[in-house]
């Protein structure tokens, strides 16, 4: 008799092994063992199904579930790469980084880092894909991150040495393409088809600073000026406010009065969006 742990390890290995192109279970395990023999070692056949076929039901279910989940979370990446290439990427990524969380919500959390080690999956426009992965993961995080009580204008003014923090749902992104527009276009299409090459080429390189945030329980993307982005980033890093402001206009030719005006405008906007909370 095998131990429960041994059965679970063997079954999990079989269930999580990639499918064939015909979406069936592979005839051989990664180490070359015949899967029919492996399945028969712990699963009973019945009059209609061999052990292999019974195990195959779980193998197929697993991959359909995780591939659907990843495709749902990264429609923009799929639209850039096209469904077949996205599927190849997904199978390899999930094989290397299977879920280690009780929720499938976290399945794509390592995709950005994994792609850095596997640039062969980035396709013809690697930086565009990199940017889209980062944006789509930021959307997932912003969707259900915490929201603390926003700081009021009075709290901000009266605090002698304000320790500001950004709301946990605010994500700051420095991107090399305007993928926010591209993602909106993808979502409007409601289709997993690859985006037309013309549209992808049109999404040329353009330094883009974004805040992905939540308002009224919906996720929004807000374009930021470079200086604005740097101030928010320094605040996020818990740098003192004076240092953050200095950073924003380092090397800037903008007169000091105009710098002050800009800072005022930025803070007024951020406060209206409720982006600040206390540390």
């Amino acid at each position: 008799m095998s131990s429960l742990l041994e059965v679970q390890r063997r079954m999990a290995e079989a269930v999580m092994a990639p499918l064939t192109r015909q979406e069936g279970m592979r005839q051989r395990a990664a180490d070359g063992r015949p899967m029919a023999k492996e399945a028969a070692a712990y699963i009973k056949p019945n009059p209609r199904l061999e052990s292999f076929e019974r195990l195959e039901i779980y193998n197929r279910q697993y991959w359909f579930r995780v591939l659907d989940s990843l495709a749902e979370d990264f429609p923009g990446v799929q639209a850039i790469l096209g469904a077949p290439r996205f599927r190849e990427l997904s199978v390899r990524y999930i094989s290397d980084c299977p879920s280690t969380s009780f929720t499938l919500r976290n399945l794509g959390g390592k995709l950005s880092g994994w792609l850095e080690e596997h640039p062969e999956f980035l396709g013809a426009q690697p930086d565009l894909v990199r940017d889209m992965v980062r944006l789509e993961w930021a959307v997932i995080e912003a969707f259900d991150a915490a929201e603390r009580a926003p700081l009021s204008a009075e709290q901000l003014e009266n605090a002698e040495n304000p320790h500001l923090a950004l709301q946990p749902h605010v994500r700051l992104l420095e991107l090399s393409h305007p993928v926010d527009d591209l993602l909106l276009a993808v979502r409007k299409r409601k289709s997993a088809r690859k985006l037309p090459a013309r549209q992808l080429v049109q999404t040329g390189r353009q330094k883009t600073y974004l805040a992905v945030h939540r308002a009224d329980y919906s996720v929004h993307y807000k374009r930021l000026e470079a200086g604005e982005f740097h101030v928010l980033q320094e605040i996020h890093r818990a740098s003192p406010l004076s240092e953050a402001l200095e950073q924003a206009f380092a090397g800037s030719a903008l007169p000091e009065t105009e710098q002050a005006q800009k800072i005022q405008q930025w803070f007024a906007l951020w406060m209206s969006l409720g982006w600040f909370c206390q540390v």
């Binding site: 429960l4 712990y42 499938l104 946990p168």
Partner: protein, 295 residues
């Protein structure tokens, strides 16, 4: 007295699974529904729309939590973060009981996100019962375990599924969420009589019943929750409540989800059976099929 200590001695009636496509309808129309079952993992988050909707639902309706990834049968230790988030949600929803599946699904830190069948061994009884006890102690509400649909059986098994269920719930001192559709699906896949299963369940532990639809393939049946309930499953349901008494009942419909009204209509078919049981003298036993199946 149909309600028992495993469902907090509450009479809940007929519930519906809370699903995203129905959010707007429920919040705007406020339909009359006895209770909603929520998938715990969908709301074990820090903020945002899932919790905002849940809070609005909680203002109007009773909610019961149903989990899909505690994996009582997995050998690996329970996930502390999972437990803590679950407890936080239990406090928010005030669920009178907490259900999850009698299955395993993770090993060595890797999750399959599936409800995998357990070999029915004494080792598995020990592992599973201990985990259920641990969760029950931690969350401080009654835990009830649901029998799953399965497509595979193990050479190692030394007892039937219902014997395994009975051993586990007795040792863990927990309740049962009896899924009569899952019993039907497994009975077709493993060639046993579903009536024997239903008649073997300790009635005093059944806190809730699930009903659902499934998909039939050439050589097996798959538990897909994407169809109406078929007559043989309604017959099993009738048999179950005749033994157990009126019990909190929930229709699961998770894929190809139709309108709220259609799901509600399907769920309310259970009312026909519950009313018949309520009229029955207590002496009637499960041996006599006295309930008519709703067409």
């Amino acid at each position: 007295m149909p309600a028992n200590r495993f469902n907090g001695f509450t009479e809940y009636g007929i519930g519906i699974g809370l699903r995203i496509p129905h959010y707007r309808h429920i919040l705007e129309k406020k339909p009359v529904v006895d209770w909603f079952e929520v998938i715990s993992e969908n709301y074990m988050v820090d903020g945002g729309n899932p919790l905002a909707v849940l809070d609005q639902i909680l203002e109007q309706y009773r909610v019961v939590q149903h989990g899909v990834s505690m994996y009582f049968g997995s050998v690996q230790p329970l996930n502390r973060e999972h437990l803590q988030r679950l407890k936080t949600l239990v406090r928010r929803t005030k669920t009178p009981w907490l259900s999850d599946h009698l299955c395993w699904g993770s090993v060595d830190g890797r999750y399959t996100h599936d409800l995998l069948p357990i070999p029915y061994t004494w080792e598995a009884v020990d592992v599973t019962a201990e985990k259920i006890r641990h969760v029950q102690d931690f969350v401080e509400v009654p835990v009830v375990v649901e029998n799953v649909s399965s497509y595979a059986e193990f050479h190692d098994s030394v007892m039937t599924e219902w014997e395994f269920l009975n051993e586990v719930v007795e040792r863990a001192d927990c309740g049962i969420l009896l899924d009569v559709n899952n019993i039907y699906v497994s009975s077709m896949n493993h060639d046993f009589d579903p009536a024997v299963y239903v008649n073997s369940v300790p009635t005093e532990r059944v806190a809730q019943i699930h009903i659902a639809g499934h998909s039939r393939y050439e050589k097996y049946i798959l538990d897909t929750h994407d169809h109406p309930v078929i007559d043989p499953v309604w017959e099993l349901y009738a048999q179950a409540i005749r033994r157990i008494g009126p019990t909190a009942t929930l229709l699961e419909w998770d894929d190809k989800i139709p309108s709220f009204e259609e799901v509600h209509r399907e769920a309310m078919k259970a009312e026909h059976f519950l009313q018949q049981v309520a009229k029955m003298p207590p002496a009637l036993t499960a041996e006599e099929p006295v309930l008519e199946v709703a067409r």
